[in-house]
Assembly symmetry: C2
Homo-oligomer: 395 residues x 2
C-alpha cells in the first residue's frame, strides 16, 4: 500500500487586485506562512510544483522564479495546469509524488497575477480554455456565455429563476465578508445582484466570479514524515477523482450537468470510502467551483448533494449555509473570495484544512462532526474536473 | 514498495514544419500508433497527461481537445510544463500516477505546434523561460544568447573551439539522416556549420536546434497491467531525478555546468542503481538536450560521462558515435531530429524504448549489452532539469 499524504502547513495571500507586488513577492506571501506553520525549511523540501495558468503574466517560469526567491534551488519542480482546476492539478502532482514514494515533503503553490493584462485580454485568454478553433474563434463565445448556456438550460428544465441564482451570490458574499483573505469583504442583497448589469443573460455582474490576483500554498508530507516531525495539526488527502470533458460544447448531450464532474466524484467517493448515493452523510462541508452562480447549483447535483433539479431548492431553503444540510463555500467561494485561477484549488485545500481543524474565522466555522471536507474544482466548462476529499483521519 | 512502471506502446509523428495538420490531428499521428503498439484502446486508459508549452498555439486546452478527438473523455487529465523539459515532466506525471497506484494505464502525450506563430514571436516567447523581468526585458537576451554565455565560458576555461561545437552538429545530422521522423534528414560537414551565419557568437545557425512542430506519445503501464496484458515488448522506467535552477543567470556561480542537471543526475543514478562515479559502465547510450551544440558537451560532463573539460575530447575522438565510449543522440538529437518543446522528452523516451528493444532504423542501432538508456532533458538554461533512466529489466 502506497503512502498516505497529509497537509501539514498552509499559507494564503490576500486575494484581490495586487498591483503592490510582483509575481515572486505574491508567491512569497503564501510560501512564508506555509513554511512557518509546517515547521520546515526550504532545504527540507524534496520537490515542488506550481499551479498557474499564467497566460496573462510575463513571467513564464514561475517554478524557477520561486526556486531562487524562496531558496528551493536545486530541488526539482514542474508547472501543472488544468485551466481553472489548475490548483487541484498541482495538488495532484504533490499527492502522487509522495504517494509514489519519490518524496516525503512537497511544496504545492498556486498563483495567478491576472491583472497584469487588461480585462479584455484576460477574458479572451480564458475563453480559449475550450475549443478555440470552433467555439471561440467561430462563435465568439467567452466564459460567461459558455456557462450562461448551462444556466439557461437549468432554468428551462427545472424552473429556476434569476433570483435563485442571485441567492448563491448573496450567500457567498455573506461568508466572504467574514474571510480576511477574500477579494470582496462585503455583504450584498438579492437586489444588488438583480440590479447589476447583464454580462450574458441570465448572468449579471454579481453572478460572475471576478478577475483576481493571489497565491495559496500547502506543504504536503508523507505519513512517515508526519510521524518524524511529530505534526499535530494535519489534514489527510483521502482521495481525488478527475475527469475531462469534450473540447466542443456542441458535443455535450445535456446542459444541466457536467459529466466530467460526475465521473470525478464517483472516483473520489470510491477512493475516500464515501457512499456515492449519500455523500452528505460523510461530509461536514464543501467548496465548489462557483465561477458563475448557476455553476454552484449544478455542482450540488453533480456531486449528489441532492437529487437532480433540487439544487435550487437547497439555495431557496438556505441549506448550504452553516447549520443547513451541507455548508458550501463558506469562505466566500470563487464569487466573493476571488478566483486567481491557479490558486483556487490550493485555496480550497486550505479551507478544508482550516475548517476541519476548526481554525476558520468567527462566523464562518462549520460544525465538524464527520471529519471530512470536499473540494470541487472545474476547469473550462467542465473541460477538466477535480474532486478531492480531505479528512481528519487517514484511510 | 510502490508499483514498477513500463512503457508498453509508443507513437511518433513526423517532426518538422507541419502546416498540413491542426493540433488535434498532429496529436493523433502519435496517439494512434501508441494505442496500436500497446494493444490497448482509449477506454482502457485511466488517466492522461499532455506535455505542451503551447504559448504559440491558439488552443489552450489540448487535453480536452484530445479527450474528444481520441475518445479519452471522461477520463481525468492535466497539462504538465517545465519549459523545454516539458515532455519529461509529463512522463513524470504518468510515472507517479501509476507508481502511487492511482492508475494502471496512463497515456502521456507531448506536442508542440510552434510554427503557428511567426519565428520572431516564438523566439520571444521561449526567451521568457528564465527571469523575464530582469534578463529578458532589461537585457534583451533570447536563448541563443543565454547558451552562448555558457559556450563562451567553456571555450575560455577549456580551450574548446567553434570547430569542436560544429562536430556535435555533424554527428547529430549524421544520425538524423537515418531517422525517418527527423526534421532534417541530411548529413552536413564541419564546413557547413562554420560557414553558416552567426546567431549569437560562438553559435552559428547550424549550432542551434530548430523550431519544430511534432508530437510523441507513450503508454505507461503498471507491472500488474503488464502481466495481465502479457506484454512482451516493454521498457521500464528505472528512475528519474529532477532539478531547478535560479531564474536569473546572474545568480549562477559557474557557466560551464548546470547545477540543476548535476542534482537531477545524482538522484536518477541513485534510484536506478547506477554508480554515479562511472555511469557509462551501466548505460548503452543516451539522449541529451543539445538545444545548442555546446550544451551537449556540457551535458556529457554534468552527467559524468567524462571528467570536467573532457567533453570536447569525446567529440574530437568521436566517442559518442555508435561504437564509441557512449553513443549520444543517435536519433539526431534536438539539433537534427527537431525540438517541438513538449514532445522532446517523450521522443527521448521513445528512443530509449527503440534502442533497448533493438528496433532502431538501419545504421543507428546501438549495441545493447547493459540494457539501460538515459534521457537528459533541460528546460530554460538549466532552469529545469529532468534525467530519466530506462531499462530492459525492472529494478
Amino acid at each position: 500500500m502506497s503512502e498516505n499524504v497529509a497537509i501539514i502547513g498552509t499559507g494564503h495571500s490576500k486575494f484581490g487586485t495586487r498591483k503592490d507586488v510582483n509575481v515572486a513577492e505574491l508567491c512569497w506571501e503564501s510560501i512564508k506562512p506555509a513554511f512557518e506553520s509546517a515547521g520546515v525549511e526550504p532545504k527540507d523540501i524534496d520537490y515542488f510544483v506550481v499551479g498557474t495558468a499564467g497566460m496573462w503574466s510575463s513571467e513564464a517560469a514561475v517554478p524557477a522564479l520561486i526556486a531562487e526567491y524562496a531558496g528551493l534551488e536545486p530541488k526539482g519542480s514542474m508547472r501543472a495546469e488544468a485551466a481553472c482546476a489548475t490548483g487541484s492539478a498541482a495538488i495532484r502532482v504533490g499527492y502522487t509524488t509522495i504517494k509514489s514514494e519519490l518524496a516525503d515533503l512537497v511544496l504545492v503553490l498556486g498563483v495567478e497575477k491576472m491583472q497584469e493584462s487588461p480585462s479584455s485580454t484576460v477574458i479572451e485568454l480564458i475563453g480559449r480554455f475550450g475549443s478555440y478553433f470552433w467555439e471561440f474563434e467561430n462563435f465568439g463565445l467567452t466564459f460567461p456565455g459558455y456557462y450562461a448556456m448551462y444556466g439557461t438550460a437549468y432554468m428551462i428544465k427545472y424552473g429556476a429563476t434569476e433570483e435563485d441564482f442571485a441567492k448563491v451570490a448573496v450567500k457567498n458574499h455573506y461568508y466572504g465578508a467574514k474571510n480576511p483573505y477574500a477579494q470582496f469583504q462585503r455583504e450584498i442583497t438579492v437586489e444588488t445582484v438583480l440590479k447589476s448589469p447583464y454580462i450574458a443573460w441570465p448572468f449579471k455582474l454579481y453572478d460572475c466570479s471576478p478577475i483576481t490576483d493571489g497565491s495559496a500554498c500547502v506543504i504536503l508530507a508523507s505519513e512517515e514524515k508526519v510521524k518524524e516531525l511529530g505534526v499535530e495539526e494535519k489534514v489527510w488527502i483521502l482521495g481525488q477523482g478527475t475527469g475531462t470533458g469534450t473540447a466542443n460544447l456542441s458535443k455535450r448531450k445535456d446542459f444541466t450537468s457536467l459529466p466530467s464532474v460526475v465521473h470525478a466524484a464517483e472516483i473520489a467517493y470510491k477512493i475516500a470510502g464515501i457512499d456515492k448515493d449519500d455523500p452528505v452523510k460523510y461530509l461536514d462541508g464543501a467548496d465548489v467551483h462557483d465561477c458563475f452562480t448557476a455553476a454552484e447549483i449544478i455542482a450540488y447535483e453533480d456531486l449528489n448533494f441532492c437529487r437532480r433539479g433540487e439544487g435550487m431548492k437547497l439555495v431557496r431553503e438556505e441549506q448550504t449555509y452553516i447549520g443547513g444540510r451541507i455548508p458550501v463555500n463558506i469562505d466566500g467561494g470563487l464569487k466573493a473570495k476571488g478566483h486567481p485561477i491557479g490558486a483556487t484549488g490550493v485555496s480550497q485545500a486550505i479551507e478544508a484544512y482550516k475548517q476541519l481543524l476548526q481554525k476558520a474565522e468567527p462566523g464562518r466555522q462549520a460544525d465538524i462532526v464527520k471529519g471530512r471536507w470536499l473540494a470541487h474544482n472545474v476547469g473550462g466548462t467542465g473541460h477538466y474536473a477535480y474532486v478531492t476529499v480531505y479528512g481528519l483521519e487517514k484511510r
